[in-house]
């Protein structure tokens, strides 16, 4: 690691805030995100689905029964965009869309067994890479990793993230 490159720096130094350090962080995000999505992307090719389907499946699994509108906000896309993805998932029998009991305008989303199976396949792959990275870096690094990511989020998304963080709604 180059001059000023990290934990050895410690306490009060502000060297970790140089433009150079920030640029390294930016590039690290870029390259790491490629790795982060690589394994699920490979799997999705076998099913003719894309990253958008993965994201929908992930959060439906995460919070069974969530409404389309909530999912919209979490994913940050338009309802039209999400609808296209959701429709194929429903047609293919991976997602069930149940009309709300109280409010019949709402659709509550659930994974079918088939959907849950794909979710498992995708998240197993993604977790495997994450686990390897966590193990290589160690628990203290992981805590820092999460802290920085959290601080990087838009406040509204951070709220969502934290709501879901501890086993959410």
């Amino acid at each position: 690691m180059s001059a000023g490159g990290g934990a050895a720096q410690g306490g009060e130094s502000l060297l970790f805030l140089t433009d150079e350090q920030l640029r390294k962080g930016i590039e690290a995000m870029f390259f790491a995100y490629r790795g982060f999505t690589a394994d699920p992307d490979r799997i999705l090719e076998n099913y003719a689905y894309g990253r958008a389907h993965h994201r929908a499946i992930h959060f439906i699994h995460r919070q069974p029964g969530l409404t389309v509108n909530t999912l919209l906000t979490v994913l940050g896309v338009t309802k039209q965009s999400l609808n296209r993805v959701l429709r194929t998932l429903v047609e293919d029998g991976l997602v069930e869309s149940r009309v709300g009991r109280r409010d019949k305008r709402e659709r509550h989303l659930h994974l079918t067994e088939k959907g849950a199976a794909l979710e498992r396949e995708l998240s197993d792959a993604q977790r495997a890479r994450m686990r390897a990275a966590y193990r290589a870096a160690g628990p203290a690094a992981v805590a820092g990793f999460r802290q920085v990511l959290e601080a990087m989020m838009d406040p509204e998304l951070r709220r969502f993230y934290q709501m879901m963080k501890d086993g959410g709604a």
Copy 2:
């Protein structure tokens, strides 16, 4: 933070490798990446450019004179895809494409003053968010952040990242 949530864990514990912890890391990556790209995306709208243009500009700035082929590999897209982006940047006078001196097949890419100005605008915005996140999390967290990201990269991309890391080629 929930049970097993971080640095307090310390040393030998493996609780940071539970599926739940990994899932949180996955979601943190997802939400943080949205924040990571949000500011440049907003700026790019004013110029009718997209994220693809930003990435090209970033790495041309980062490594002036790099060849099309190198940029291709770093970005992980096809030459047709990159070419479309690069052509508009050259046409608009943001990037200069110089025929190689030694090998005249190669095109060496440079930012013009106009291109450098846009690069500055974009990276100022992106660095501002990164700086705020770094400052909020502190130097130790930043070191961990970088460690985990690095471990998450595909080996080939990690090589590129490390080559460029300390002020590159």
